[in-house]
Symmetry: C2
Subunit: 304 residues, 2 copies
DNA sequence: AGCTGACGTTAGCAACGCTTAACTCTCTCG
DNA sequence: CGAGAGAGTTAAGCGTTGCTAACGTCAGCT
């Protein structure tokens, strides 16, 4: 006897949604149904898969392993269905793209416009995802394409059977209020800024990890006073004189910079790199979109 | 809504067994149950998957496509289960090997003996399979290892995510009765033997395809009077003076050759090549067995 | 304390899927 | 040529599965 694909789907959905209740809503079931399916799955395997806690569930080690394999199973199931439809003469016309916020503003629109022109019949869907999430959704074919990034110093997620192409390198700039004392120098070292109040992402966010790594190399520990994921918010805080931050070049290019001073860090050249991730043997639509994204990235790079 | 893995399993079993009734027996169900599952699968997809004929079923084009993807799904399901067991500390101890008859006699026993010595706790299972069958069983994890062959001129099956390693090249010899007129010459061409009665496999059997290809190159058409898959039978027929045949070297080495004359074909050097096929990222047991098989193959080759 | 939100449990009911038993079709053999 | 065997399908019956609904439990919060 073998595992049931339906139960695996439940586990994967619960893992993605973060709680049984949220997954149940997505799947149009009652939480009870999912809970029972999970319990049965755990009974079959003889081990716990999720740790039930108030405020949501977290996966056990076995659960994480099973989720990643479950995504592969779901992906194969969809591939099977798609292959039969292809035999019947149905061209795939759906393209689901996952992207992080900045890319969604600076990289995707241009590519999407060109794509609409080349394939007017294609049905596009977009999903916002913050790195390093989303790899599993490509494996399970919920996404055809994932645009993600990685700050240098943060390890890249392993790609099990996926393909990853670098789109562009996005250097990080030091941004401070225009009237800040350090704004006079063209370059400042992290050590010189040890007493500043920093603005960055929360614990574990790549953003924050990168800042921590850089500071550690400089022998200092930054004081993060404000935590936000959103670079627009970050810039507003800086403008208000509440702190300083490292902000990607690509974000700055599309923003009003009045009241801000943009400098380079001394000694190091931090950056984040943007990638596009898709399955091996991409369909025609996927390959076309990758090409357009690369072109869009090139436009940005050469515009520097 | 998506395909059901259980129904895919039914389709795959039916494809392998060649008929609904045979698959039902293997799965301990009634033919009616499988028939209903297949019907439902066809209804869901909106196309026929099997052609019902008296004396068995054959797959439609869509059916063949779905079977190959179904095998991938089943393989992922087993991989998922195995991965969880691995997290729980269970070492895999099962090794299922598929082999064709000659290899089962000349190549496998030596490797198997060494394997038993190195891994006494491993549970081995063997399955007889005639090439080019068996690739799908590796994908679906029914087999961990497939020992197969291919006569030159016969196309190799495509390997979707599998790895194939050549074990050895097995030259084909012309075998005729000891008192046959042509037995005097050390070499004879196929054109010289155009009027002989040949012994070979049935239509579509690689054996037969190879003979046909060689003969076509020589501008003749062989008259196949006796059809058999079994080389022992073939040799017995030759000994009885009923015909001649091409027989692999490896078969001849383990057989009593009295009453037979072994010669080489003039002009061509036909052969069959033996391969071992397994999944990417083989488990420790699989990798060890491959090594032993390669060593066993080397022993045979150098013993020439 | 009492409330809220999230999860687990139990009872009940609907749907699914298997078996039994008939039927169709084709090929085979006396 | 008609009986029989083999393969597959269809219809009816029934057990199992898996859902919902209502209730029970526990942690954190006001």
């Amino acid at each position: 006897m073998s595992l049931d694909a339906g139960r695996l789907r439940v586990l994967v959905e619960v893992a993605h949604a973060g709680s049984i209740a949220a997954a149940a809503q997505r799947m149009s079931f009652t939480p009870s149904a999912l809970s029972q399916q999970l319990a049965k799955l755990e009974r079959e395997l003889g081990c716990r898969l999720v740790d039930r806690g108030p405020g949501g569930t977290t996966l056990t080690k076995a659960g994480r392993v099973l989720v990643s394999h479950g995504e592969a199973v779901l992906g194969e199931l969809r591939a099977a269905e798609e292959a039969v439809r292809a035999v019947l003469g149905a061209e795939p016309d759906r393209l689901a793209i996952g992207t992080f916020s900045t890319a969604g503003r600076i990289l995707v629109p241009e590519a999407l416009a060109a794509f609409r022109h080349d394939y007017p019949a294609a049905r596009l869907s977009l999903l916002d995802l913050e790195p390093p999430k989303g790899y599993g959704l490509v494996t399970s074919r919920d996404l055809d394409l994932l645009i993600t990034h990685r700050y240098v110093g943060v390890p890249l997620p392993g790609l099990a059977g996926l393909r990853r192409t670098r789109l562009l390198t996005d250097p990080l700039r030091l941004v401070l209020p225009a009237d800040h004392p350090a704004a006079d120098q063209a370059r400042s070292g992290l050590a010189d800024l040890a007493d500043e109040e920093w603005i960055s992402g929360g614990h574990g966010v790549p953003n924050r990890v990168c800042l921590g790594t850089l500071a550690k190399q400089a022998g200092v520990e930054p004081h993060v006073a404000y935590e936000t994921q959103d670079y627009e918010v970050t810039l507003a805080l800086i403008r208000a004189g509440l702190g300083i931050s490292l902000v990607p070049e690509s974000v700055l290019r599309r923003t009003d910079l009045t009241g801000l001073a943009v400098r380079e860090l001394r000694g190091v050249r931090p950056s984040r790199q943007m990638y596009v991730v898709h399955r091996r043997r991409p369909a025609a639509l996927v390959a076309a979109m990758v090409t357009l994204l690369l072109r869009s990235a090139e436009t940005i790079t050469t515009a520097v």
